[in-house]
Symmetry: C2
């Protein structure tokens, strides 16, 4: 008998039919003798519906009250899922964040979990209940309702798994595991059976969307094994593990789109000071005397314009490809040359011990990721043997 | 400076525009220097929408989980109203039942309030906040979410007013006060400026819908003055008072439709024992040897059929008119005679010190209430002077 925390996101509980399918899925694990805590998100679309109501009242709604509003989304789901489980003859009890209790800081709309109390969870589990917990929400030290920000249900699941010392935290999603790269772009992409936590963190930080960076880091910190599974299909998914045997030569290629390359005549040190002040992260480099280029997420562009006003101009819409795996140093030149041969301009590259990041024009990202995936993942041996192309 | 508890029902907060109108209304009272606690219901239609979701999962949903689901309705409203107040520059803070705390028994779907804690309310009021509280909900002693059943927001408002020793509990609704009878049926019906608690209880018990019986009784028990006001129009509304000067000769006529007159050959004592067993209230009387008639709400008919099976038959669809006021004993015969003259059969009548109830066929209720209202309310002096008609 294992203690499992299973998390189902908004798409997985997006309709009554889907909630019933989740109930069946949970029951299957229960019937194998496991103790189960289920963490759920709001039904797909519900958070946006609530946000829409708030925006009608105030374009910039009170942050405290926005959390009071948004937290109802998950409360609806826990009630419906517990009903569906009870109807099928399995004792289930729903708990809101305050009933658990999940204690957070008081950063409304973007709170961090400080502590998960285990007493009520343990009592209910020991009584044979499936416990259904509202994700994404908590209470601060003054008992105000908080939310963890979008994607926070993963963090809730990981935090509960950590507090309960669960055997596994299973993240059910709309893909059946972690892939070597985005399978919508690269048909040859394949599912990984296992991936090491360090590499998963690197993939998530560089754009892999299957797991939120924050929850991967939280899980690593609290030593909670993670498993990514499909809500829609059977399968073993991908285990994110602490085991050193999980470290593989090449893990995969993370893609981050919707970024912009900017240029400014501001000195690098001044630019970085400004960016730090406004909490904007960017990839900076001096391109020549008196000119600095940097890359930033499109989401930060409006704020950047406030900071830099007319002192910057946009160079290009760009993407980054990040190859995660061993011994990148010797391979960068080879792949850059091959991309150039295919007409893909690699504007810059950055290397660290287990990550090589290439900056390319966004329009090239699909072509580029297919080339890089083929060389690094499908035929890695070809890369080792291939002579360096002569580039002038 | 007074301390006011203002309650707005589902229609009053039925859209963003209506919530904004409620905010303006609340601000007006705040600007007069009063401390305000606002209690709100779910937006009109929301409770039914949530019930619809639950019924899709289970025709008879788990009672505990139904309350988890339904209580989200009021939570949405408190957040939106607090946002609307904050946007207008008035500090407002929303509180759910657990944040107040409102303690109830554990009768899910139909809980009763045991205690309202005042500490958080008082602190927020003293800080100058308008406090916006979710009606209709509470927490039992084990911190489970409960609901008070439909119309429970009135009870929440009254209970908070009682606990805070408020100067007045103001119930805002879609009519501008308590009327002498239903103005949709009787154009001559007029609004009462003041009505005594005993008479209001009698009106509510006999079918007046403007206030829930339970909340009137609760207010009387906790010595909370009530005022019924329109959410949509200005005005003083109707004050429900403990003052003996509020006792008037004739208060009004309550109407209760959707009842059925049944007949059974079961002895009266057996019938009453059966009805008590199933918690069904009925108006019983022996009509002749071996036959008992009784009146019951149509809502209880299905359950009655389980109790009495083939031992009863339906006589007629009936209504009751209840005249609340002084000295009914001498007037019953006169009005029954006049109704007979107009072709309205009065099947039975019941008199108590300040209430005369007439049992009539439902199809006659509009004609009858107009006649009774004219004689008792519009021209009461005509009743005193009119000679008794000769009826054989």
């Amino acid at each position: 008998m294992a203690l499992l925390v299973q998390k189902f996101g908004g798409t997985s509980v997006g309709s009554i039919e889907r909630i019933e399918a989740v109930a069946e899925r949970v029951i299957k694990a229960r019937q194998q003798g496991h103790q189960i805590v289920v963490v759920v998100s709001a039904m797909a679309g519900e958070t946006n519906r609530l946000l829409g109501l708030a925006k009608q009242v105030d374009e910039v709604p009170t942050r405290r009250e926005l959390d009071v509003l948004l937290s109802t989304g998950e409360q609806v789901t826990i009630a419906l899922l517990a009903m569906a489980l009870n109807k099928r003859g399995f004792n289930a009890t729903s708990l809101t964040a305050d009933q658990v209790t999940i204690r957070t800081d008081n950063a409304f709309n973007n709170a961090s979990i400080i502590q998960v109390e285990t007493e009520n969870l343990t009592t209910l589990l020991d009584q044979g209940n499936i416990v259904v917990v509202a994700g994404f929400q908590g209470r601060d030290s003054e008992n105000n309702i908080t939310t963890l920000g979008r994607g926070g249900s993963d963090t809730t699941a990981v935090a509960i798994a950590g507090a309960l010392d669960a055997d596994e935290c299973q993240i059910f999603t709309d893909v059946d595991g972690v892939y070597t790269t985005d399978p919508r772009l690269v048909p040859e992409a394949r599912r990984l059976d296992v991936v090491h936590f360090d590499d998963m963190t690197s993939m998530a930080r560089n754009g892999a969307k299957v797991l939120q960076l924050q929850s991967v880091e939280y899980a690593q910190q609290h030593r909670v094994p993670l498993r990514v599974l499909s809500s829609f299909e059977e399968g073993e998914g991908t285990l994110v593990s602490f085991d050193s045997s999980a470290v593989s030569d090449i893990v995969g290629i993370a893609i981050k789109n919707q970024q912009t390359l900017l240029e400014t005549d501001m000195p690098l040190s001044d630019l970085q000071a400004q960016l730090n002040l406004f909490g904007i992260t960017g990839w900076c480099s001096v391109v020549n005397a008196g000119s600095t280029q940097f890359v930033t997420a499109n989401d930060d562009l409006a704020r950047l314009k406030l900071v830099l006003d007319k002192k910057m101009h946009q160079v290009a819409a760009v993407s980054t490809l990040s190859v995660v795996g061993d011994d990148m140093s010797g391979k960068a030149d080879v792949i850059c040359a091959e991309l150039a041969e295919a007409g893909v301009l690699v504007r810059q590259n950055k290397r660290s011990s287990r990550c090589l990041t290439l900056l390319i024009n966004e329009e090239d990202h699909q072509l580029a990721v297919n080339i890089v995936h083929k060389r690094f993942v499908v035929e890695p041996e070809s890369l080792d043997n291939r002579p360096l192309l002569a580039v002038s």
